[in-house]
């Protein structure tokens, strides 16, 4: 078991390195001189531009810049944002809290929608109910999230006044704080509900056709007992995988929702950073995202390995 864990953990490292290298290269190929963009309206003589470029070490060869970044990064120092002159780590951590909150609530909504839909679909396979619930759950992934977001704001915030239109990230565990989470979580969760629902349906269908279910039925057990106690439990294993994937998807997909609902999360930070050619910030955010994603997958893999011993010995 320990060997398995060790192997998986070690595999993460080259992935992260690879990501940081690719990001670094991509970033430097984005057209636009970061020094000019950053200074913008400040003193614009050529000499000032060159001086700043030198201060930021942007005049060094690429590989040197990368290694110096790596050197500091390994010590936990991700540099300072060009635009805002604040430590990248601080900015990222601060904004990450918001993104994480959105993603978790989105996941919750996702599950709340997807589980019942998936179960119903599986149990009443090929019936009218199956058909309807599949259409509903597929609708989630068919609507662009920014569209859903704005429509929700207009309907529920403006016309019905049930929920606030934008986020205030201060108090979470108050009624007010929770109310601000409803609309964005729903916009976010609705789109990922499809993936979860499909997975639930598919695995439930497979499980329901197993022999031991037939045996249980022939023994005369009540249908509901069969579904919940036997089928669902066994279906949960691959479903946990999908939960992991969904979390990753949500973390990445919050960019648009954050912009619309005024939630200051990593997505918004990322878009602004790209616009402003804020290299250290871009590098820090992508690394962070990738780390989160990889860690989530790692944890899921480990759980999976723990639950299903056959995987471990591959």
């Amino acid at each position: 078991m320990l060997r398995y864990i060790a192997k998986r953990v070690l595999a993460v490292i080259p992935v992260l390195l690879g990501i940081s290298i690719i990001t670094f290269l991509l970033m430097h190929f984005i057209p636009g001189d970061p020094v000019r963009v950053m200074l913008g309206k400040q003193a614009i003589t050529e000499e000032v531009i060159e001086r700043v470029r030198h201060e930021l070490r942007l005049d060094q060869p690429l590989y040197l810049q990368y290694f110096s970044w790596l050197y500091y990064a390994l010590q936990g120092n991700l540099g300072r944002s060009f635009q805002m002159n604040m430590p990248v780590l601080y900015l990222v951590a601060d904004h990450f809290a918001v993104t994480l909150r959105l993603a978790l609530f989105g996941l919750l909504v996702s599950m709340l929608i997807a589980m019942p839909l998936g179960i119903v679909s599986a149990v009443k396979k090929d019936s009218a109910i199956d058909y309807v619930s599949r259409v509903i759950s597929t609708l989630g992934i068919s609507l662009p999230p920014f569209f859903t977001g704005i429509v929700l704001i207009l309907i529920f915030a403006l016309y019905l006044r049930w929920f606030p239109s934008m986020g205030v990230s201060t108090e979470l565990f108050s009624i007010d704080g929770l109310r601000t989470m409803v609309l964005p979580s729903f916009a976010l969760g609705f789109s990922s509900a499809t993936m979860v629902a499909r997975m639930v349906r598919a695995t439930m269908v497979e499980v329901l056709e197993q022999d031991y279910i037939r045996t249980a039925r022939s023994k005369g057990l009540k249908e509901r007992v069969i579904i919940y106690r036997h089928a669902l439990k066994n279906a949960m294993i691959p479903v946990t995988t999908v939960i992991g994937m969904t979390l990753g998807y949500l973390l990445g997909g919050s960019v648009i929702i954050e912009t619309i609902f005024a939630w200051p999360g990593l997505g918004m930070l990322m878009v602004n950073a790209v616009m402003k050619r804020d290299y250290p910030l871009i590098q820090g955010i992508v690394l962070f995202f990738a780390l989160m994603f990889t860690l989530t997958n790692l944890v899921i893999d480990l759980i999976y390995g723990f639950l299903d011993p056959r995987i471990r010995y591959r």
């Binding site: 704001i153 239109s165 616009m275």
Partner: protein, 530 residues
């Protein structure tokens, strides 16, 4: 979507002083009744319907980017600085009148090279330190220091040194006279900073500005991209402001901003789409304000590259080919046509100007005369805040045979491309005056060596006129020179001017006393909420 105008840098200005002594003295002693220079005065007793207290939620059209007045260049940060710190002088509301602020009076020497400011006694920064002339000296020395890379450096580069005469008097000694000195001192980046506090913070104001200012509101906290909180300065020298607390919330999405004002989550919202303003007219709970600035949005011709180089007729042809009426329809009557670089709202405007009207036949005729009887293909660089204007221009130009390919860039790249002037042909741009003076529009945008001259146009007579207008003092004479220069620019058509800059605010009807300054900064000192 519109995008905030960003501050541009400015080359050295040299101009004569305005008759400052009389003007300054008259304004200084006229604006406030019964002054005792020895003690700070409290605000004049106001109508008794003021209500004390309450929290104001305001949202601007762009996020606060920086808390350091010397480095900030965006409008939202100007607003934050304006309300937490004080300048020596300020503009009265949205006008070009300069009135006393921290300085209750000032004198300007005859040769225009010495400005002496007299400060109120007993003004305290938010950390309790008293504001003295030493802080004034410190502030401007920091601004002029090369390490600061201050955005307003060029406006103040004519300062030779600052003398502290005594605790409450500071003298600025200039290398040469400067017509816009006072106006530059009234701008948000010219606020006076607390020397002691800045030294405590080791000069790093990027995340914390508490105690640096002396303004009506104290800085409390700033969560980047989320919100900025300020609270009332109980001991404000001009009297405690009415509001208890202000929260500047960042809402990037325009529709969400408008919705938030309508639901009452936000009290004051900036940059509400004009279509929604029209819709809000029936709403008794809301008040809308139109804000205009001096300057214009324009479609620029790159005069240093073909096809527009040395081809005035071609430029005039396209100027007649733009359907100006169509452009204006977007604004539902809230913005007016700009015939030239600025409008009648600033002196020096020629009263008999005709401008270019939309005349497709004349446009085609001129096109042929310019050597393009079959039309031509051009590119147009634009960005979010001007792309709608650009699309409309392109559509009407297509009808006269000019095929426009729109290149949509992000704002920073557009600035860079226009400034470089190598690839641009047509481009969408705007200029809003930093200082309400024709020099800041005509010289800054069209003088041949000005870094903001992105049309890359050169006309010797024009240059001569605007150079001369900088160094004389008499406004009447300057006005004549600017009028002539204005006409030259109109004739040569280095740009097709569209409309004036501005946007609209929506506020709850419970808000009173709200004003906007000339730098788009929101003035919250006198606001109360009922």
């Amino acid at each position: 979507m519109t995008k905030p105008l960003t501050r541009r840098d400015y080359l050295k200005t040299a101009a004569a002083a305005v008759g400052g002594l009389v003007v300054g003295g008259a304004i200084g002693y006229g604006a406030y009744p019964a002054l005792n220079p020895a003690a700070p005065k409290k605000e004049v007793q106001a109508p008794t319907s003021f209500v004390q207290g309450g929290t104001l939620y305001i949202t601007y059209r762009s996020p606060v980017l920086n808390l350091d007045p010397h480095i900030m260049t965006d409008e939202a940060s100007y607003g934050a600085a304006q309300n937490t710190m004080d300048q020596l002088v300020v503009f009265e509301g949205n006008t070009a009148n300069i009135i006393p602020n921290l300085a209750y009076a000032w004198e300007i020497s005859d040769d225009g090279k010495e400005y002496t400011f007299h400060l109120w006694k007993g003004v305290k920064f938010h950390d309790g330190t008293e504001l003295t002339a030493n802080d004034v000296k410190f502030t401007f020395e920091r601004l002029l220091a090369p390490e600061t890379k201050a955005s307003y450096y060029a406006y103040f580069s004519s300062i030779d040194k600052i003398q502290v005469i005594d605790d409450y008097a500071a003298k600025f000694i200039l290398k040469e006279p400067n017509a816009i000195m006072l106006a530059a001192l009234a701008a948000p980046p010219s606020v006076i900073m607390n020397k002691k506090r800045v030294e405590e913070l080791k000069g790093d104001l990027s995340s914390n500005a508490f105690g640096v200012g002396s303004g009506p509101f104290k800085f409390v906290e700033w969560k980047v991209n989320d919100h900025l909180t300020m609270e009332a300065n109980e001991n404000y020298w001009a009297g405690r402001p009415h509001l208890d607390k202000i929260i500047i919330k960042e809402i990037p999405e325009r529709t969400t901003r408008a919705v938030a004002v309508q639901t009452g989550e936000i009290d004051i919202g900036a940059d509400i789409p004009y279509d929604m303003i029209e819709q809000m007219k029936g709403n008794k709970d809301l008040v809308t304000i139109d804000d205009h600035k001096i300057g214009a949005y324009y479609m620029g011709f790159n005069c240093s590259q073909p096809p527009f180089k040395d081809n005035v007729t071609l430029r005039q042809a396209l100027s007649h080919g733009v359907d100006y009426g169509a452009v204006l329809v977007q604004f539902r009557g809230h913005l007016a046509r700009s015939l030239g670089p600025y409008g009648p709202n600033l002196w020096g405007y020629p009263g008999d100007i005709v401008g270019y009207n939309f005349d497709p036949d004349k446009a085609k005729e001129l096109l042929a005369k310019a050597g393009y009887p079959k039309g031509l293909d051009v590119t147009m660089h634009a960005t979010d805040w001007n792309i709608d204007d650009g699309q409309i221009c392109a559509a009407s130009l297509a009808k006269i045979g000019v095929n426009v390919k729109i290149i949509h860039l992000d704002a920073a790249s557009l600035d860079a491309a226009c400034s470089a002037g190598k690839e641009t042909q047509l481009f969408m741009m705007a200029w809003g005056a930093d200082i309400p003076d024709p020099d800041n529009v005509l010289y800054t945008v069209f003088e041949s060596t000005s870094p903001i001259n992105w049309v890359h146009w050169k006309n010797d007579k024009f240059d001569e006129l605007v150079h001369r207008a900088r160094v004389i003092t008499d406004q009447g004479e300057r006005s004549g020179l600017y009028t002539e220069a204005f006409k030259i620019v109109m004739d040569e058509a280095p740009a097709a001017w569209l409309h004036d800059p501005g946007f609209s605010w929506a506020l709850s009807r419970h808000i009173h006393g709200f004003q906007v300054g000339p730098h788009y900064q929101y003035l919250l000192r006198g606001v109360w909420k009922k």
